[in-house]
Symmetry: C2
Subunit: 155 residues, 2 copies
């Protein structure tokens, strides 16, 4: 019953809002696995729209492509994923979001203390907890700045 509703890369781009080059890039990274037609052009299943949408949502939540690959690996092999498959993954997102929100709220509370005193100095303020450092996303090599190091007294 598989209808001939395969999509060209441009179609998929239009449906997801992604650029064509980004979709090719995702294929190279192993996030989608299109077939090829006679002329070597990519042909995507309709379910890939959802797959790419998932990638976008996951990125919005803060997952790296590497992490997204891991999540996608939890989807079934042979068949196209059904609602309950996506549902399972969504649930882990919820937890992640909760953690992110909690971390920001902690930062906000500490900052409120700082607004009161105007000091903005890490240790004194108790703002700037190393535990939350890891939560900060950034690019390039900026490994675990936090850790076991005690930052020393301040000023």
């Amino acid at each position: 019953m598989a209808r001939t509703t395969l999509l060209a890369i441009g179609d998929l781009a239009r449906r997801t809002g992604l650029s064509v080059s980004a979709i090719r890039f995702y294929e190279a990274r192993g996030l989608v696995h299109p077939m090829r037609n006679g002329a070597g052009q990519r042909r995507f299943a309709r379910s890939d729209i959802r797959r790419l949408s998932f990638i976008l949502i996951a990125q919005q939540i803060g997952l790296t492509l590497e992490e997204i690959i891991a999540e996608l690996a939890r989807l079934p092999e042979g068949r196209a994923p059904d609602p309950s498959d996506w549902q399972a993954i969504s649930r882990s997102f919820r937890a992640r979001l909760d953690r992110q929100i909690a971390a920001l709220e902690r930062t906000r509370d500490r900052l409120d203390g700082c607004i009161g005193c105007g000091c903005l100095s890490l240790n004194v303020c108790a703002l700037y907890n190393p535990d939350d450092r890891a939560a900060a996303r950034g690019s390039g090599p900026r490994y675990v700045l936090g850790g076991t190091d005690e930052p020393g007294a301040l000023v």
Copy 2:
């Protein structure tokens, strides 16, 4: 009254938890302006500890160095910044944090809807609002994916 309490770069690194190379990098980007001693070594004012702490906090909140430079530009020129100067800046952080938290909460609420239906498809779910897209931080050229484009109906 300026005591001879100038700090070498290594001292500053120890006090802030930053690496020496990061501090040099910040100088190159114009975030700190140390003096030099006879031998050409950097000598920092004590108030630079706070300045660097500020940078760390701002990064944690999600500002880029470019944005941090802009914030720092609001500090007084001649004198060392006092508590009320930092206080003024802290206040704008609070607003930013509130916006970030609100955006994550919106995403979470929409995701909750998705967990219910298991669909995870953007338009259908109303998850994945372009407005929140801009909030997502990422590196490299990934310009305004959101915008005026309507993504088209789904599946």
